[in-house]
């Protein structure tokens, strides 16, 4: 497979997942702001921090003031994370990135999946999306979520299950590890440091986090209805059967990379990335039996985010564009 094409596949997958994660998080936060009697800044500042756009928000929206009312303004925060063309993580940029990568490998993406991507792109550029955003916020996020889910489903059901799809899925999974880890980290930090801890509020917060990750039903099944900070953290980190848990995503990403670059094929590039992903996978599963206390959650998640960042870089260097070392003698 052509390295440039593999690169587009990988980033196509990452942008799909990023668009979906942003839509999920914003939708869940709207509902959280209504349900839990939290100071608005507690909700929206968290959202901005999770997206990694704290500095830009501070200068662009909050007038360089840490106590600016914009930190608690759900409208401003949402508009920023949906429409800001300069932010690398805004919904409109993710959808552009998704479409640009797909169009660059138009001959690789199946016709039906391409059409789903293109329709989302056209919808986003059309006035109808702005109108929906203004009049029916939940419908807006739902449309994005469903379109990205449709795309992922069509990719799996209409494409050959070989290298291009493996690279797309590798991108989806590594992006998902990141999204889950950051969401959990920031929320865990915020919720365990609430000034007035209150059981009802805390329950609402954890449920909202689970909903943002489409995991509330799955969690409640596993936990028999008991909601606790440690229970939720453990579920999102280690639950092997939940498709958005860190353990599940890291393990699946490792399997995808094994298909792309079999562990025994030492002559092929990609060995370093594969080994690092294997080590991370092993490390995550080993954490399952250990207690999660104090700053343990934060330290664990920081390690995961850092490792995933390095693994993505290594994949890029080894598989997605570096020129070949030598020409084989044919």
């Amino acid at each position: 497979m052509i390295s440039r094409v593999a690169d587009h596949c990988f980033w196509f997958g990452r942008y799909i997942e990023r668009a979906e994660a942003t839509a999920r998080m914003l939708g869940a936060s709207v509902s959280l702001a209504l349900d839990a009697e939290l100071p608005p800044a507690q909700v929206w500042r968290t959202v901005i921090v999770v997206s990694g756009e704290e500095a830009r928000y501070l200068s662009r929206v909050a007038a360089d003031d840490e106590n600016h009312p914009a930190w608690g303004d759900g409208e401003l925060a949402q508009r920023f994370l949906v429409w800001d063309e300069d932010s690398g993580v805004s919904l409109c940029r993710s959808i552009q990135g998704m479409r640009w990568n797909a169009r660059s490998i138009r001959e690789v993406v199946s016709h039906e999946a391409w059409e789903a991507v293109n329709e989302l792109h056209l919808w986003m550029r059309d006035d109808v999306s702005a109108t929906t955003f203004a009049q029916h916020r939940e419908g807006f996020y739902q449309y994005v979520r469903r379109s990205t889910q449709l795309t992922l489903g069509l990719l799996r059901s209409t494409m050959l299950h070989d290298e291009p799809l493996d690279f797309m899925w590798l991108g989806v999974l590594l992006e998902r590890v990141n999204q889950t880890a950051r969401m959990l980290d920031v929320h865990h930090h915020a919720f365990t440091h609430l000034s007035r801890r209150h059981e009802v509020v805390e329950t609402a917060l954890w449920l909202s986090l689970l909903r943002a990750l489409s995991g509330s039903e799955a969690y409640l099944k596993r936990a028999a209805g008991r909601i606790s900070s440690e229970g939720v953290a453990r579920f999102l980190i280690s639950e092997p059967a939940f498709p958005r848990s860190i353990a599940y995503c890291v393990h699946s990403a490792y399997s995808r990379l094994c298909d792309i670059r079999p562990p025994e094929s030492h002559e092929l590039p990609g060995g370093i990335a594969l080994e690092r992903l294997r080590v991370l996978d092993t490390w995550i599963s080993a954490r399952r039996a250990e207690p999660l206390a104090g700053t343990g959650v934060h330290d664990l998640l920081t390690h995961v985010v850092d490792e995933v960042h390095d693994i993505c870089e290594t994949v890029g260097r080894e598989l997605l564009g570096a020129p070949p070392a030598a020409v084989p003698t044919a």
């Binding site: 497979m1 052509i2 390295s3 440039r4 094409v5 593999a6 640009w100 169009r103 660059s104 490998i105 138009r106 001959e107 016709h111 391409w114 059409e115 293109n118 329709e119 056209l122 290298e163 792309i260 670059r261 092929l268 590039p269 990609g270 598989l319 997605l320 020129p323 070949p324 020409v327 084989p328 044919a330």
Partner: protein, 499 residues
């Protein structure tokens, strides 16, 4: 969607499509003869179309355009930083071609492509046609498309014009005439296939009733053509063909990806390829892979910075060495531009007689070659009636449209022709044929001028003509310009099977 129910409902209610159709005086109408009667081979299909109402057609037309946009069947608009893409305007009313007519075109095009191929072999070989005095050597060797460095290089498989598109027009008598040959990187064939998909969706019963030749096997034939010239074919391998595109910013990118996708080949960009030991390789996730056929949609000038433009970033350094060594087939072969040069065009009928000893089947547009004294005298005396073209310019530049010109413009061209007669040819303006066309803003069917670009694939076994083609239509009222960049659109072209 036109389905049986709405068709029966529409009978007798509201005006039919062709009620009050105003034929365009002085043109040959493709569907209707004098007096508004449908031409005999099209009587049945014209009758079916006439039952569609304007409202139904407007609705189908809007659906078709939405489908094109959703599927991303678009071209990039150059100079637009937001990367705007547009659909190529499309008219659902098909352009019909009778079986007899097309059979003649087919034979004529095959003959023409055989002669043009032999001409290229000769020019890059012994140059017998020049020695025989059939074409003035200066016309050929001075052409911008002539590549002296390629003399003596034999293309793998012996084919040079794998893919061609020949532009044809029809004069007021209904005579088909070749307007120009496109032997380098002709585009538009993806619209032929896509337009047919729209016809199938919008007019399913009609298409069936009309007994139309299919066009969707073009990509399969193209893939066979490419395989047939693979230099490693003899060793039993299936070869490894790719499509080379300048990239997603190119206006024809949709077509490049379309062809790669429908042939199941990889679409590569220049940085994906490199040359080592005069062999071409592709950079893959599993290391280099040998490539032996390249359907290149990059202009020759950008193909190899070692040979052509050194500033090209769209090229592959060393590609021409690999080609000259016979290790990679390029489709189309570099150097073809000498055969579709405007100055060489007037001599194609002479080539047919010289190489094939046959009488040319297809007419072309009578052309005056200013290098010849008699022709030059005639052109200078009739400048106000002629279209004068500089042979080394295209896209409407360097042209004098005599009937619309001012005295100063004519004087300017007179000076230029006298200074450099070789650079100029002249033709009388030919009135293009017209075709019933849906004009949305007027909510009615009106005649508009059309041309036709059939596509010809040449493999080791010889030329094959796709029974169909791209009908381009000048959508602006009174316009002769069919180019998509200047208000042109396209139509599906229905070539009738034998009755």
């Amino acid at each position: 969607m036109v389905h049986s129910q709405s068709q029966s409902q529409s009978q007798g209610s509201g005006p039919g499509l062709f009620d009050g159709y105003p034929a365009l005086a002085g043109t040959f109408d493709e569907m209707f003869a004098e007096g508004g009667v449908a031409r005999a081979p099209f009587a049945r299909i014209a009758g079916l179309l006439a039952k569609v109402t304007n409202d139904e057609l407007a609705r189908s037309q809007a659906l078709a355009e939405a489908a094109l946009l959703h599927q991303g069947v678009t071209f990039s608009v150059y100079g637009d930083s937001r990367g705007t893409e547009k659909i190529f305007p499309f008219c659902l009313l098909p352009r019909l071609i009778a079986a007899d007519d097309f059979r003649r075109l087919e034979r004529g095009l095959q003959q023409r492509l055989r002669a043009l191929g032999m001409f290229l072999d000769d020019i890059y070989g012994d140059q017998k046609i020049l020695a025989a005095g059939v074409i003035p050597p200066d016309m050929v060797l001075g052409a911008a498309g002539y590549c002296a460095t390629l003399r003596g290089v034999k293309p793998p498989g012996g084919v040079r014009i794998h893919i061609s598109g020949v532009d044809l027009i029809r004069d007021p008598d209904g005579t088909w005439r070749v307007l120009e040959d496109n032997l380098r990187t002709p585009s538009g064939v993806s619209y032929v296939v896509e337009n047919r998909l729209l016809s199938k969706r919008m007019f399913p019963r009609m298409l069936d009733a009309a007994r139309v030749h299919r066009v969707d096997h073009y990509p399969t034939r193209l893939a066979e053509t490419l395989r047939s010239v693979s230099p490693t074919q003899a060793s039993g391998s299936d070869g490894n063909a790719v499509v080379l595109t300048p990239g997603p910013y190119n206006s024809a990118y949709f077509e490049h990806s379309f062809l790669a996708r429908t042939m199941g080949l990889e679409l590569v960009q220049a940085p994906d390829l490199f040359v080592d030991g005069d062999k071409v390789y592709c950079r893959t996730t599993r290391g280099p892979r040998r490539i032996d056929v390249i359907y290149r949609r990059t202009d020759e000038a950008f193909l190899d910075p070692e040979v052509f433009r050194p500033d090209s970033v769209l090229g592959v350094a060393g590609l021409m060495r690999a080609y000259a060594a016979g290790n990679v087939a390029l489709a189309n072969a570099p150097g073809n531009g000498v055969a579709d040069d405007k100055a060489v065009y007037p001599f194609v009928p002479d080539m047919i007689e010289f190489y094939l000893s046959e009488t040319p089947i297809l007419e072309q547009v009578p052309t005056y070659v200013c290098l010849f004294e008699d022709d030059r005298k005639y052109v200078l005396e009739h400048l106000d009636q002629m279209v004068v073209k500089a042979v080394d310019e295209s896209g409407g530049y360097g042209m004098l449209m005599g009937p619309q010109s001012t005295a100063e413009e004519r004087d300017e061209f007179r000076r230029r022709i006298e200074a450099e007669p070789r650079r100029y040819i002249a033709q009388h303006r030919i009135e293009l044929s017209s075709c019933p066309t849906w004009i949305a803003e007027r909510g009615a069917v009106e005649p508009r001028r059309v041309d036709l670009r059939p596509y010809i694939l040449t493999s080791r076994e010889g030329p094959w003509v796709l029974p169909g083609g791209l009908t381009r239509v000048a959508l602006k009222r009174g316009s002769y310009v069919v180019n998509s960049s200047q208000g042109g659109g396209s139509k599906d072209t229905w070539v009738m099977r034998d009755p």
